[in-house]
């Protein structure tokens, strides 16, 4: 079942692994923070961006609608068809007043200063957008950090489910996606960030985040489906 797949892009002055031996059955799709707060143009940060940063609002939500959401759904269909794990994360406050964050933390200060940054569990904004509603047998992890490795038991859960390869999509590229990919790769997972299934507030920040990854790789939705598909066979 194990097979070699194309891995890292060759980069000048860097060592890169051209091919990597993986077990395609041990793959999971991690869909990060596709919540109404961050993916619904008229809710959560959408309201703040429209008011204060209209150019970001236009760029960000049109990218979500035209590219990110369709690609996430395509990846999810592929993972479901092949009976591979699909895991969702939700970011926010686990307690309404943010008591789940340390009182001295910059995050606690930020939620007081910028109330559209994190929404509490149970609010409309905290919910996943309706297009990525999970099935009952798919994990949903609640976290008050960007990366699930910093405030959930994901490491143990992946170990239990025998997952070695993480395909990472969702929001935002230079925050949740990059942090999760860095930590997953650093912990020994085969971590793939899907460049056309994630978004940042600025195209330049998106590109900078993906330009020179270490211990993780960047691929397109087509590449993920095209590489894993033949290895997994017809479901």
């Amino acid at each position: 079942m194990r097979a070699k797949i194309p891995w890292d892009q060759p980069r000048p002055g860097r060592y890169s692994v051209a091919e990597w031996d993986i077990d395609p059955q041990r793959s999971a799709l991690v869909i990060l923070d596709m919540q109404k707060a961050y993916a619904e143009p008229s809710l959560g940060v959408g309201l703040m961006l429209r008011r204060n940063y209209p150019a970001i609002h236009r760029y960000y939500y049109s990218r979500l609608i035209q590219q990110v959401i369709p690609n996430i759904l395509r990846l999810r269909d592929f993972f479901r068809t092949h009976h591979l794990e699909v895991i969702y994360t939700r970011m926010g406050l686990l307690l309404p007043g943010g008591q789940d964050l340390p009182p001295w933390s910059w995050r606690r200060a930020l939620i007081r200063y910028s109330p559209d940054y994190l929404y509490p569990y149970g609010s409309t904004e905290y919910d996943l957008v309706s297009s990525v509603e999970p099935l009952p047998n798919e994990l949903v992890l609640d976290k008050n950090t960007l990366s699930p490795f910093n405030s959930t038991g994901i490491d143990q859960l992946l170990h239990n489910m025998k997952v070695e390869n993480l395909v990472i999509a969702g929001l935002l590229t230079n925050a949740g996606i990059e942090s999760t990919a860095r930590e997953a790769g650093d912990r020994g997972y085969n971590a793939i960030a899907v460049e056309d299934a994630c978004a940042a507030y600025h195209p330049a920040e998106h590109a900078a985040s993906l330009r020179d990854p270490s211990w993780w790789v960047v691929k397109t939705t087509n590449e993920v489906v095209g590489t894993l598909g033949p290895l997994l066979g017809t479901a």
Binding site: W106, R108, A109, S114, A175, D186, G188, R211, S214
Partner: protein
């Protein structure tokens, strides 16, 4: 002792926090991977030394990180990293940087003293292979001043995870080194927008001195 310092100053950044109240007595210095194997550590050694002298002089906690394999044959390290550890390019042979070797030791000038924790990691970020958070809790550290190398690799991975876990992280731009200048800039840009503060060595020393001894800082600012 508690006091307010500038935090995230980029005005075109959504969700920034312009200033933050910190307690300098709960602030630690974290020096990342300033080891003999490095060919860039010397470029930021003077800034790291200034920070280290300041933290020692004020009896604030200091932690040193070291990267490498814990075992001579590196079988404690995950496979992908084992294959290309410390190899800069396709042409270069992998070098050994195992605990106990000269390459693994911290550079002269930053040698840890008794009373300073040295944390050994076989990963890039300290939170991915060590019990660093256990030590931060024990030392009652809330804020971290981070310097060392390489900016976009071990420094970024460690600083990101710390900030994501809620620690107030000040990344010291002129005390961090990277082989690729563009990577250094990307890390600083992203960090000060999404994770914490980016400061110079001078700023960190001035702000922390101001909080630790307000009378002295005031008289200095008035030129007395």
């Amino acid at each position: 002792m508690r006091g307010t310092i500038t935090w995230q100053t980029a005005e075109d950044s959504p969700n920034r926090l312009p200033e933050l109240e910190i307690d300098p007595r709960h602030t630690a210095l974290l020096i990342v991977d300033m080891q003999n194997y490095s060919d860039i550590a010397q470029s930021v050694l003077p800034q790291c030394q200034r920070l280290l002298d300041f933290f020692r002089a004020n009896s604030l906690p200091v932690m040193h990180l070291r990267v490498g394999s814990l075992l001579p044959d590196a079988h404690d390290v995950h496979l992908m990293r084992r294959l290309n550890w410390l190899r800069r390019s396709q042409e270069e042979a992998a070098r050994s940087c195992a605990k106990g070797s000269f390459d693994y030791d911290i550079v002269a000038g930053l040698t840890p003293q008794r009373g300073e924790l040295v944390v050994d990691k076989n990963s890039s970020g300290a939170f991915n292979s060590t019990a660093i958070e256990h030590y931060l809790v024990a030392l009652e550290v809330h804020s971290l001043v981070v310097c060392g190398e390489a900016t976009s690799r071990c420094v970024d991975n460690t600083a990101r995870s710390a900030a994501d876990r809620g620690y107030n992280v000040m990344l010291v731009a002129d005390a961090c080194a990277d082989h690729i200048p563009e990577n250094h800039e990307t890390t600083m840009h992203v960090f000060q927008r999404a994770f914490g503060a980016v400061k110079t060595t001078d700023q960190v020393l001035a702000e922390l001195s101001g909080l630790l001894s307000p009378e002295l800082a005031l008289s200095m600012s008035q030129g007395q």
